[in-house]
Amino acid sequence: MQKFSALSLLREALRGHKGWGRQWDAPEPRTEYDVIIVGAGGHGLATAYYLAKEHGVTNVAVLEKGWLGGGNTGRNTTIIRSNYLYDESAGIYDHAVKLWEGLSREINYNVMYSPRGVMMLAHNVHDVQVFKRHIHANRLNGVDNEWLTPEQAKEFCPPLNISRSARYPVVGAALQRRGGTARHDAVAWGYARAASDRGVHIIQNCEVTGIDRGPDGAVSGVQTTRGPIRAKKIAVVVAGHTSVLMEMAGVRMPLESYPLQALVSEPVKPCFPCVVMSNTVHAYISQSDKGELVIGAGTDQYTSYSQTGGLHILTHTLDAICEMFPMFTRMKMLRTWGGIVDVTPDRSPILAKTPVKGLYVNCGWGTGGFKATPGSGHVFAHTIARDEPHAINAGFTLERFRTGRLIDEAAAAAVAH
């Protein structure tokens, strides 16, 4: 692997940048692998990387029906935070934040992790109570999260309108300073490059159309648009399409898939220093390094695989943005798009073994799994390599919907995250 450094940049600058080779291989699929990962989003690629790096499992293929990072990984608003309520959630999301902190160096690829702070606005008494409860729970788990008055919130984010006459007055905010953003594409590309360097095969334009099982019921391979491929371990990491894939192995899932949209504005000079989220009025906003405002909207109310959502969902979000940040009322929006997110009943993910031997699933990240990408890949690789969960994902089972041991972030936040 060609290493990126100040020196290599300088050398290439002098050679007209003609020496940059391909960053990951495009091999022909083998007939058999030790592990097949279905889905080359951030979570699937990170899983492959940690399988190779931490567990020495390198005979691995990541099969992707489209292009790598073209699913929700390349469509999300890149908010990273770990101030969730429950111990299990704090465990996995904070594990991810700690990995984000060293990721660019570790994989020698600039993922542009920017801990610029994530501020969540409280607009009513209920918000205040919920946020303060989160802050206390987070403190017990060693996760940073602090309460701000409206004035402190405005100091942290000057464009914020804290007027008492605002339609949704700001009565306070919870701030996680270690929260922030990262460059979504770079995360997919960086993990792809690092995994490929360790011998992992990344095979694009290869849709999995069936999961084969042997006489003992265990998985034996997959059918793909590029022919059958054998493996004794198959990991499904396909976000919105999880129900479809698991159905191929006869496993029914507690999931529903919804469109979720985002949009960006025309690029402008740096004017927005942090990430602001408002669950109550439903708007998320930050500014990318290119200068665009990156705005997250809500899900549509109906299940769908269309990858497009209703326009009224976007306008609803923009109404809220303009109300909270009057200086943006004249901004032009450039692009909108949608992804399909897989939502569990308790809004927590599933990273687990399944009732089918050799079949593993990592799904249910819904509207908020980008932030977990490194942590998820790290513990899921452990689950696959050792055939048992890592302590951090031990609670994120599929059985919890039978035992009732939910990790009910849905009730804790009552909205998307």
Binding site: G66, S243, P254, T303, Y305
Partner: protein, 122 residues
């Protein structure tokens, strides 16, 4: 925004008047206290979530207020038909399904890039 036909009001009306109310034809067991955890899970948490024809409940919240069912294609989002609550799951004809199925296959974005142009008549 979807245009939805309320079978009670007998009119096509904007989605904003309606609330989606989850998968249809999920029968609530009348003996909830006696069923096993497995049966409860299947009733309460497991969902078909199909890519294709789905049967779902809607409520005409800002209208007549009544619940009804719909058959819709979850890739094109086109309604095949709506019908009143309590009516059995309809048998859909091939033609009805074909009319709601998107041209080409699967989702519009992030599908395999066909380099040879073979296949599905896009």
């Amino acid at each position: 925004m979807l245009l939805i036909h309320c079978p009670y009001c007998e009119a096509d009306l904007p989605e904003l008047e309606f609330r989606h109310a989850g998968e249809a034809h999920v029968a609530r067991p009348s003996n909830l206290a006696d069923i096993t955890d497995e049966q409860f899970e299947a009733f309460f948490f497991i969902r078909e979530n199909r890519k294709g024809v789905v049967f779902e409940r809607w409520r005409h919240l800002h209208g007549c207020g009544r619940f009804f069912n719909a058959a819709r294609h979850s890739v094109s989002d086109k309604f095949i038909r709506t019908y009143k609550a309590g009516e059995p799951k309809p048998q859909l004809s091939e033609r009805e399904i074909a009319a709601a199925t998107p041209i080409g296959r699967g989702t519009p974005a992030n599908e395999p890039i066909r380099l040879t142009g073979e296949g599905d008549g896009q």
